[in-house]
Structures are given as structure tokens and as C-alpha cells.
Symmetry: C2
Subunit: 195 residues, 2 copies
DNA sequence: ATTATAAGCTAATTTCGATTAGCTGTCAAG
DNA sequence: CTTGACAGCTAATCGAAATTAGCTTATAAT
């Protein structure tokens, strides 16, 4: 995955993959049927790893109510932590980052990859956060606005800064600082004013 | 560019390029030195086209004050139009879309492409909008908040929905509707309350 | 009219990279 | 012990794709 995420499928040679694991190219074929088979194995592994995580975190958005209970009971300060935590995890988890780059490069070759990318990096986070914000509105913590839009406005800057960090790691500090300001300003804007 | 934006450099064969323009592969070499040379020609063309546009639109952010005068004098309704217009242009302009997809696919192969992508799709729009929002704050149209963050919160959802449309054109209507709601909610949130 | 040049073609050539063939050493189960 | 499966290796093979060679035709300038 390291190689595929840096160069893309077509620019990785099986000899490189073999070298990376300390064997010669033909020996790879004792373990995998073909180059494509290696790629598919990575994909399957990442998919099931994601599904495991998503099911324990209820990331599918169907049942974020329990989390909302938790968050509603504490200050909106927790929203800040959520944003920063999400960002930091996505940015620094080695596998998450490489997989994201791999999907970015390969998304237009394969509609399965495109859908996977959209699900993991758009639909799922958005529906989860939407449910969360929805609860926080009901509890009177946040202003009554369309929660889908709130989720988009919260998450899109996170996602965009993430892709910027992937592309230009040298500017990571700058982007991280901006992210922090975003999260703070977001909660300030949407916080319900006390009467 | 059509081919490169759909398949990526490595997956496009010179025979395909030739066929697309109605000649045989070897004839291409009467016009371009190599496959890479063809790619570079596209890149150069797109860069200078962008520079032309940017200089007439003052998109570099150095002098958005004139625009701010215009926008300040009219309602914040114009912000809505700006957001939707920006989105619609980026989404439907044939060259803009293909170039964006090409950069997306090739960004990790070449740091020049990475920087170009960041400049055209992040730094320039953000600095332009930041200058604009900054003026609108001074004029008392918008709340006094960090204009860099405002620009990020305005633009990131536009950018994210754009990449979603590129990836899954079948969901374009859904994403466009969400974009509209975003722009409306953004202006509502940041509009300065009358006392 | 003549000729030089441009732009095209077909048929090589060359290179590169995935995959297969076939051999060898190791090691665990009997 | 010995044998069979496994995992590795080197040396082919095979196919694909970029590029080059060398020829032909059209056309525009002299």
C-alpha cells in the first residue's frame, strides 16, 4: 500500500513490491496470483478494517444518539475535540493516510473505488455528524439549523485541509493551525445564545 | 487531456492519443518529441490559460478591494451568487473539470503538479475570498470574524462537493442542492444582525 | 515546373515489465 | 530417515507500448 499510495497502481512494478518485502519478483507468485491480486488483497483488508471500526463507532449514522447524549451533557468544547481528533487521526494514522492517497489516485479507474472513497470520506462522516448535530440542536446546545448543512460546514474544511496536508506535508503546521481556528469559530457561530 | 484526466498518464497509450485526433501513433512524433512532451504541452497551455484568467479577475487576492466595493454596495445575496457561480463554473467548464481530475490523479507523482493544484484550488480562491470577506466585515455587512476562516468555511464545502461531483456524476443533483443550502446558511450565519 | 518541407503511413526495433518454468534447500509429519 | 509441500531463486518467455526508420504524398514557395 505504501508503494501504490505514492506512485499509483500502474507505476509500481512487482519487482519493487518484492524488494520491499525482501524477496525476488517471481517468488511473489507463490503468494499471490497476480499484481492485481495483490492490490485486491490490500483493498479487502482495508475494507474489512474500516467495517470493523465503523461498526464499533456507529459511524454509519444510524445510531449516533448515544454519542449525542454524551456530547449534549458536556460543553460544546467537546465538538472542538471531536474535530481536532478526527483530523489528527485521519492525518497521522499511517494506514488511513496511505489508503486515502491510494483511493485518490485510483478513483477514476474503477467505480468501486470511487464509491468506497465517497462512502468513507463523505457519506459516513457527514451522516454521523449530522445525527450528532441534530441531537445537539434538540438539546438546545446549538442553533436550530439544517443539520446536514452544519455537518458539511464542519467537516468539509477538515477534509479539505486533510487533502492539502497529504499533498504538501511541508505546510502541515499552517494547515493544522487553520483547522483549529475553524473548529473554534464554528462552535462560536452555531452556539445558541443564552437569553 | 480528456484521456489523461480519465485514465492517468501511465494508462494512456500514445496510440489512443493518436486515434483521438485521427492519425496513427508514429505520426504524433512529427508534432511532439515524446509522450511526456504531449503531457507537458497540455500543462503549459492550462497554466497560461489560468494565469490569463487570474490576472483579469484579480484572483491572486492582492487586489480584491474593487470587488469588495461592488459586493458591499449590494446585498449579501451576491455572496450566494458568487458561491453558486464559482461552483457551476468549476463543475461544468469542460477544461476546468478535466484539468482538475488530471491534477488529482497525478498530484503525487510530481511536486510541481502538487503545488499547482494547491495554488489553483486552495491558495488562490481562499486568499481572494478572504480579502472579499475582510472588506465586507469592514463595511459592516458581515460579522467581525477571522476572514481566513470565513473563506475556508465558505469555500471548503464548495471544493468538497466539487470533488464529489467529479467522482460520482450521477449524484450531481443531490450535491448541488446541498451546496445551495450551504451558501444560504452561510450568509445567514455571518450576516451582521441589525440593532 | 521543380523542389523542399511537412505530415502521414507501415513496418521494424527496443525496452520494459509481468508472468511462467524449472530447479533447490528447508523443514515438519510420518 | 525420508518425503512432500513450501518458499525461494535464476533464467526464460511473452506481450505490450514507446519510439525510430524509411517511404510516400501533398502543397507551397521559388
Amino acid at each position: 500500500m505504501t508503494l501504490f499510495s505514492e506512485k499509483g497502481y500502474a507505476n509500481v512494478f512487482v519487482a519493487e513490491i518484492a524488494e520491499a518485502v525482501g524477496i525476488k519478483a517471481p517468488s511473489l507468485y507463490k503468494h499471490y496470483k497476480s499484481k492485481q491480486d495483490i492490490f485486491n488483497a490490500i483493498l479487502d483488508e482495508m475494507k474489512s478494517s474500516y467495517d470493523r471500526q465503523a461498526s464499533t463507532l456507529n459511524l454509519n449514522g444510524n445510531n449516533a444518539s448515544a454519542d449525542a447524549e454524551i456530547y449534549a451533557s458536556v460543553s460544546e468544547n467537546e465538538i472542538v475535540k471531536m474535530g481536532l481528533g478526527l483530523f489528527s487521526y485521519f492525518l497521522h494514522d499511517e494506514y488511513a493516510q496511505k489508503f486515502r492517497k491510494m483511493l485518490t489516485i485510483e478513483q477514476f479507474n474503477n467505480s468501486e473505488l470511487a464509491q468506497l472513497f465517497t462512502k468513507q470520506y463523505a457519506d459516513d462522516p457527514l451522516s454521523y455528524q449530522s445525527a450528532l448535530f441534530s441531537m445537539l440542536c434538540l438539546k438546545g446546545v446549538l442553533k436550530e439549523e439544517n443539520p446536514n448543512v452544519m455537518a458539511l460546514q464542519f467537516y468539509a474544511p477538515i477534509f479539505m485541509l486533510l487533502t492539502l496536508c497529504d499533498r504538501e506535508p511541508s505546510r502541515e503546521a499552517e494547515f493544522t493551525a487553520l483547522l483549529e481556528q475553524h473548529v473554534l469559530q464554528f462552535t462560536k457561530l452555531y452556539r445558541k445564545e443564552e437569553k
